[in-house]
Symmetry: D2
Amino acid sequence: MKVEPVKARKGMKVSELLEAFSLSAFNARRLGEAGKLWRKMLEDDAFIFLTLAGAMVPAGMRRILETVVSNGFVNSIILTGANIVHELCEALGFSHEIGSEKVDDIELAEMDINRIYDVFVPTSAFVAVEEFLSKLFGQLSGNISSYEILWEIGKNLKNSFLSLAFERRIPVFCPTLHDSIAGLHLMLYGKKVVLDYKKDMEKIIELCSQKKKFGIVIIGGGVPKNFALQAMLLSDGFDYAIQITTDSPQFGGLSGATLEEAKSWCKLKSDAKAVTVYCDATIALPMLVCYLIDSFSEGDV
Amino acid sequence: MKVEPVKARKGMKVSELLEAFSLSAFNARRLGEAGKLWRKMLEDDAFIFLTLAGAMVPAGMRRILETVVSNGFVNSIILTGANIVHELCEALGFSHEIGSEKVDDIELAEMDINRIYDVFVPTSAFVAVEEFLSKLFGQLSGNISSYEILWEIGKNLKNSFLSLAFERRIPVFCPTLHDSIAGLHLMLYGKKVVLDYKKDMEKIIELCSQKKKFGIVIIGGGVPKNFALQAMLLSDGFDYAIQITTDSPQFGGLSGATLEEAKSWCKLKSDAKAVTVYCDATIALPMLVCYLIDSFSEGDV
Amino acid sequence: MKVEPVKARKGMKVSELLEAFSLSAFNARRLGEAGKLWRKMLEDDAFIFLTLAGAMVPAGMRRILETVVSNGFVNSIILTGANIVHELCEALGFSHEIGSEKVDDIELAEMDINRIYDVFVPTSAFVAVEEFLSKLFGQLSGNISSYEILWEIGKNLKNSFLSLAFERRIPVFCPTLHDSIAGLHLMLYGKKVVLDYKKDMEKIIELCSQKKKFGIVIIGGGVPKNFALQAMLLSDGFDYAIQITTDSPQFGGLSGATLEEAKSWCKLKSDAKAVTVYCDATIALPMLVCYLIDSFSEGDV
Amino acid sequence: MKVEPVKARKGMKVSELLEAFSLSAFNARRLGEAGKLWRKMLEDDAFIFLTLAGAMVPAGMRRILETVVSNGFVNSIILTGANIVHELCEALGFSHEIGSEKVDDIELAEMDINRIYDVFVPTSAFVAVEEFLSKLFGQLSGNISSYEILWEIGKNLKNSFLSLAFERRIPVFCPTLHDSIAGLHLMLYGKKVVLDYKKDMEKIIELCSQKKKFGIVIIGGGVPKNFALQAMLLSDGFDYAIQITTDSPQFGGLSGATLEEAKSWCKLKSDAKAVTVYCDATIALPMLVCYLIDSFSEGDV
């Protein structure tokens, strides 16, 4: 099949560009193929996990997550604690600020501004998070999973993908919740509660045992990637997998590992369709979501 | 200013997404800013260089180059010899094939197929290039610059950004023409001609001495980047610069070097506006071109 | 100060080369500076954390970890679950095999061989791990921290950095123990035990409250990096920091984030000495350890 | 074969560590294998090309190049113009300074200091280069190759790998000489001379036609890599190849392309032994040279 040179047109839609990308090369082609594969997952009614590492919420991706949940593009989310904490900042009315990476970090520290590459967060935003979480954690007791905590958070929140996820009972796992500011709050204010990941593992293994096809969309590797892939060690493996990463395979780390490597572990089925896009997810993820929106009439998914 | 969470919409245009990206973070924001900066270069009537390294033509980017030339988005192009050779393949009717990087390269060699990551080119395509170039080079004599050779090629070609560039007398420099299959042909068939880059240097330095503002769009570093930046050592420096690269600064190479570093060399003016997007150019460049198309009514540029 | 060209000599020691590197440039210089900074941490009697992500044990780094513990080069270790599981494989007599990344992963799966880039691990190795852990986890009950579990493991093991760490009561934290095969075993066989990271957090915060200077050596980012840095949110910040990573800052992720960024969060003191080496840790870490060994007479640290 | 955990020892030599690395994994193993492969090239009396991109001389690698030439570790060098210019700075008595990448480049520009990542070069150093080259270029006339110019430079220089190369008549090619400050000087002062790369191509093709085995050591990609590989299009292909790069394959560029890809082009023989090390060459190259020195008694190569 020929490489079909990409043509830019006036008023070109993101979904049209992705379609064109799928016949080009390198990561443009991979991005186009990823769009088609995600669509296929949905058409085949697969159960789809989205794993999320990296500072996606601070980087302005929370409405994309809302769209992903409200349109039914995923059935479960696994993310890092930092994304939860920063989502709370935003949902509670605080903003992340457009900053710069070319700054004096010591000056920022003196101004109580925390930096995530080119995003600034005032320490004051975390005060609101602490207030919210201290109250919520104070009411919990017993052994509890992260997904139950996140539903509890979603129940008490408005205007967030976490509240949508609660409403739809979409399990949102956070296997690194303890390794975040929320984890510190749990330690300080949740004296009667124990975060018990065993319950998360049981839940995700249960999800992976459904009589369904399984898909996974991996953003950025890390624990969320491993947590989902590993659940498949006790099941049959994923049928479809998309990975968006800025890591490379040649250093041997999991975040950059190819999806083929996952086949040797039987975390993907031997005939699983898989595509890795080497691209900043702040660019790739919104494009994929635009593609999905245009692929389905409302109510179709 | 707040990070404004990106929202995906039905039928969203690439230009709308880029506009949204410019208020997000990381490389999405950089891509959005790059779009605005290129638009500003055009609004300010700057003289714009486009430098091109990497296998952009094999990767399906030749129609994008056509659009860039035909819409007046650039005033001069500097590229690598490989892009010329592969443009000739396409313009002469041969295609690049959609391949895969997961192949046995020894088998490919036995089938006379050459691989560029996930693109295949049959050796037969190069036969047509040799035929075309042997005839053309046989007619040349004396000391000649690369831009004159490329105009000569453009004059004898149809359906190519090189023919458009010839028609509009847009200088296309190829400071590594000798380091390509075209260079081998020049050695074999251009016995009476000497490729004299001194004339290219004089030409580009002349261009850089115009009473104008100067912009540069750097795709992928390499000699094209250096060739254009260096010309500014004898002039006042660029006023605007965009860089799209997958290299990183921390290894000390030019291709990954920041645009700030170029300010220490006075290749950029001290107050030059500059943005680097860390992204595969097969994704970023078409998006920028879509943005420019939507930014101007026809005839506006 | 001048860049001093590096000179290779017959019989040159690693420590001599690192010394020479410190007056060169790019990552050679950074590696040389990292050696000097780690030595300074030890001379200043700082309390030093080593954080470890990536498949360091499968990659043949376990004897380096032994040396690091037995020579007192670190006072606490924070690592990923995978490193624990693979250390158990080795300590229980199973080996990792020299493999290749250019293989058919489906064939590997059929042969019950799991791949970590260019390392192979037979599934049989994990059977021994399961036997060991099922017995050990069956005897535990109540809420327990990861560092207590790892001491328990070390107590029952020979010929491992984990046994040395137990003997010396060096806390080894594994904040992602649940996200590993060991975590699966804990779920299956540790019915009466709950892995309670709150206790890990209390312990590490206690360590960070000592009246001491604090150093950190970060290998590869991930949760171990965040877990240690975050503990300093409740204390005064690190005085010295070394980071060895193959990630880049420009994608906004924590693993590639600069140590300067950590200063904005007050996780490093404003005047902390910090150096990041962009290099595969399988190369950089053994070199640093050679440098430390040659820097101190036995019994000096 | 087992992964053999690396053990650090007091007084460990670089060559011993590399030997140990060859039984580990990831890029440590690759570095160990590269050492053995380079040694084998020498034992097999192969004709060895060294290609050099990136700012190796500014980074303090010029004595390594001297050692490589004086010990006969290579038979021909292909490098970028920048390395020539900076070698001239050093050989003429000017130094590169230990700088930092965390600086204000506008301030540097005002102080006439040019930055190469963390290395500073005062503009004054280039004045000496201009003086030297203007005199030399003024005496040349006619069509001349880059390797003849570099021998001419070597003849007039002391204390440089270029003078050693001249003494031993080792061809040093610079296919991007025009794209450097030396190229500007050639344009300004070499009015009677034309840099004719056709003669370089003829020379390297002649070298590649010897009845010998051929090896290549590629540092950093770029034009030097392509120039050497391409010469093999008219010959039989390399028998051995080592590549040290910080680029990655997945973006489709030549500098990151695998050596397997080069086999599809027949630039490497189908049975060529090849190893790529993903590492900053400022670290890897001196280690390889230490390994070679320890591998041969003097006079052995």
